[in-house]
Symmetry: D2
Subunit: 346 residues, 4 copies
């Protein structure tokens, strides 16, 4: 084992990306129910970018090792660990305390890379309950993208009203959650309508299996267009809503009676006052659900589905090294990525 | 059988209650799959009041026999009817075409007393599929209150995320849906928090089984108060939201993570722009669902529960006769009622 | 429209296939809530073969037009029909009264081709509620195979504990229900283990998407073999059990804790006393469910999934005409078919 | 804290109750994720009796501290424990590794009092994940009865097809699981049919809320009798089947189409060959499920329901002390108890 442990730290929430510092520390000791993981890869989420900017609405502590998403190999297990052994490939759980069922208040205090030290380091000790077996069909880089975006998408589709084959799913744009939603829905026998702003991205969406792609720049009323694509114009069963300006208004036009709009994020710069009101759920006889990642129970189900269908996450060609994390943050903030942005650690 | 059939008609949506006309017609012929019902009682919903005022947001046709809620006895069945026979006691289904599962667009065109002639008449012919067996433990007047308010409440509690014993349910005020919600939740082993504006009504709510009653006039921040009443201050599992001014803001304060706020109505005079945005579902990690009455499948389940638990609807002491329907509309519009307002027909 | 209506009749349950008689009658009149269908194709089930042999354990009446499975075009609709119009392509529902939820006793008295006249005729009148829109992607012959075998399989996978992507499904042999189960499970992102007795059939199963095929003649202990194919040897989530001699013992070896064995048929000649006891469900911590076709609600879901995934039923190359029905019965009784055996009517 | 820790040990599975030995040991050290509990009460299950007799079909190790059921107070928590603190009242989880969802093979190796040291001792160290907060409305003795019988019953009613208000539940006899089933079902708004062999016990069952009691000695065909008690003679929705001689045959007569028979135990002396075959699930269109206690997720739900409905377990008047455990085993083996048999520890 290496004598040192290189890691990134977010010092506080006032400095933006300048608060990111690269340090060398020692390798942590493993507790009785803990697992020492040699991290092989990590990936970034929009949430990681806004934590050092002080814009993240959920709990944080500082300093913190950033990033929730990671994958690696078990190096050592505590004396009472039963679920893992040395050599196992693992991935991290976002809210380490969210084991099953609905999230509770204490579990929201266990966000990896927010409250608990995250994955942008060479070695990390994690609670046994905060890890899952990695997907056998994926590389470390691919496995490192499942923690946040993939699980959010899976929770949207399976956490409340499980997706059934033949249903219609609408995904917006080409962010991580949307692309996972597209892939999960296709593997599950659903029909997928995707929206995007460019012909080039449309092509990629089709390669990933999208049945219909709507260019929302050319078709401002894309919600109605989506609805017309469904049988009898009844509307879309599941919408994964990324929360951009104006998207919710279109989602309400597209949604089927009793369909579910899963709100998974704010892309920023949107005034909530301009958004549809919750009372609009009555006029449209639909459901709107706020989704905050998901439980270990859901993550296991998701990984089983990823293995069975050999789903490979979409990872940007540009992969950074651990020492280049600051550049990776800038790259992602500038929205230069397509799919997940990954960090190769070893 | 009587030679004549007295009935009320809403002539159009421009005259308000002056559009209500009392007429004598003949008794309709029964078709092969239809049932002739001698109506014994009907009850009114807020929706019935706003149809002649042109304020109802769902489909209507004019002239129409008003009111969705009714109960009576089968007088004659068509040659191909299998589910009912002469002498059966029956109640009406709100959306006559909504048999099971999610409502679809055609079924929203089948609202009784809106698109299809309703229950404020002595005799009515209904499609076999538009009736259910009445609850055996209830009088005709009591059975006549189940069609809209009771089924809406049942759908809120069982249509998406079925209520489990031990969960917390919050109901607002003393309208029909709220009182049914209270009774259903108590029968199902839940804890109920009710809100009201008067000590007198609070007493009635407690008699009906409410575990906690909050006077929302005395406690403007009743949402937080409700939350504190739940174990670990985790919040309420199910809220039946009547959509009054400011109530949604408090509901968001009261709701548990992954809890469900069922939006069942607009009490009027509320500007949607002042309501919480649907993106607030993310910050509160909760679900908001618009509920539009419910299916025949749900109504059968509900009646089985009503019988098993001998639940008796709360009906206002003041019961009107069929000839007094206009007075009943005025009485209800003035909000002089407590519980359901019933019309005794025969 | 033709002046005559050729049809088959099963005269009674004492004569075996000799009780099958081909007759000419008139075209039936359509009732108010009924639909006249020009049948284009039908298909046979094992159940159809044992009705004239008096071996069918569910209700029958004689004489009866045999066969539950059929597809055709709407020629005329009754005056009160709302779900269909002239020209619509339709398929038949097995238990005409089973609309949604659990089957009840009256609905078991509505089996098409058992109690109600079935599909081996040129023209038939059916209750509106006893039909569904045919799958748009299928031919009439293909659509005629969905009524019994396909719906049974769908019910097995979705009626109690809905199949999720990544789960393991085991299907036995190459009967209709098993092949549909294989196709549905693959479309839904599951892993399928199939059993068969020949290398040739194994090849076909793999072409249909089976991930693993076990030759049960070469591997008598195929239940354990199947279990070993699953992650951590935990076992199979769903087994569609056709009820042959010895198969249940192997299914109990293969099933996962909390897995579901759906018993869908008796292949005959099996002594129930030699079968596992129901108390074995405790030792294996599993569930055994008897499946009797399914509801209209499930059939609609199934057809939506068939369309979305462009699933084509496996139909035997040998297709008979309406006049050759007796030969078709003999052919099927001799087990010469692979997949569904179809009758082209027009 | 006391210097010594009195405890019972089952030395092996060959000596019957003579293998029970009472010993003094030291108080165990608490690990990082462990909790030291001062046990206040325990209760016995039939399973505990057959472990020293070598008749228990699930995993065991010897020597072992017997009994799965216990309740007490937290004395000390490990450094990384988050869910409990000193002074908390707790109860034990049966399969310590069964946290949520379906049980898996490793979790079946974690039975308290079978593989892991149980509750018949003054002090015990338990994994944090192997405990739950005790029900606030119950005494220590009452809380000590929830681990096995209560959770088994809750799992039967909520683990596969959640009980709904208005459904019919049948429980057999007056064993712990049956009495909990009766209490849970009544709290949830169901109708309960109970069977027993004496007028005296019938009286107690009625006091507990049973709507109907059938004396199975006087009415050998009690399954049909039960069926006739249900609406339209459709049958019972949920049966908690204790697995005595002949009971399953009657359960099959009583069960509704699509109803669930939960097999929860063997009362011994029954030849499986005389039991109904699993293929009978097809003829009765029903489901049979083997239930093996339940998960921590279910136990939390159950305790919430117990608190909300102030359910008090039925505990035999005769309560033994820790030093009298051997006498308690004899008392229970002789079937002298009614309800749960408890041991007061301190």
């Amino acid at each position: 084992m290496a004598a040192t442990n290189k890691q990134w730290i977010v010092e506080n929430k006032d400095k933006g990306f300048d608060g990111l510092v690269y340090k060398e520390t020692s390798i942590p000791q493993v507790g009785e129910n803990e697992v020492l993981v040699k991290l092989e890869a990590a990936s970034l989420n929009y949430r990681d970018l806004i934590i050092p900017k002080g814009m993240y609405p959920f709990p944080t502590k500082f300093p913190v090792v950033p990033a929730s998403d990671g994958a690696g190999e078990v190096i050592e297990v505590g004396s009472k660990v039963t679920d893992f052994k040395k050599g196992d490939k693992v991935a991290t759980l976002f809210n380490q305390g969210h084991q099953f069922g609905s999230i509770d208040i204490p579990a929201t205090q266990t966000g990896l890379g927010g409250v608990i030290d995250g994955t942008l380091r060479e070695y990390g000790v994690f609670a046994e309950k905060g890890l899952v077996k990695a997907a056998k069909n994926l590389s470390a880089i691919e496995n490192s993208t499942l923690t946040c975006a993939a699980l959010t998408s899976w929770n949207a589709l399976y956490g409340l009203k499980p997706l059934k084959p033949g249903e219609y799913v609408l995904v917006q744009g080409t962010g991580g959650v949307s692309l996972f939603g597209l892939q999960f829905a296709k593997a599950a026998g659903a029909i997928v309508i995707a929206t995007t702003s460019s012909a080039q991205k449309a092509e990629k969406l089709k390669q990933l299996g999208a049945d219909h792609v709507i260019n929302y720049k050319e078709d401002e009323n894309w919600g109605e267009t989506a609805k017309k694509l469904t049988p009898d114009g009844a509307g879309v069963d599941h919408i994964i809503e990324v929360g951009g300006a104006g998207t919710l208004k279109q989602s309400f036009k597209a949604i089927k009676y009793e369909g579910v709009i899963s709100v998974i994020g704010f892309l920023g710069g949107v005034d909530p006052k301009t958004q549809p009101s919750v009372v609009d759920t009555l006029g449209h006889i639909c459901t709107v659900r706020g989704v905050y990642v998901g439980s270990k129970a859901l993550m296991r189900d998701m990984i089983r589905a990823i293995e069975a269908n050999d789903i490979h996450p979409v990872v940007d060609e540009k992969v950074f090294t651990l020492s280049e994390v600051r550049e990776a943050y800038d790259f992602m903030w500038a929205q230069k990525h397509f799919g997940k942005l990954a960090i190769k650690i070893c």
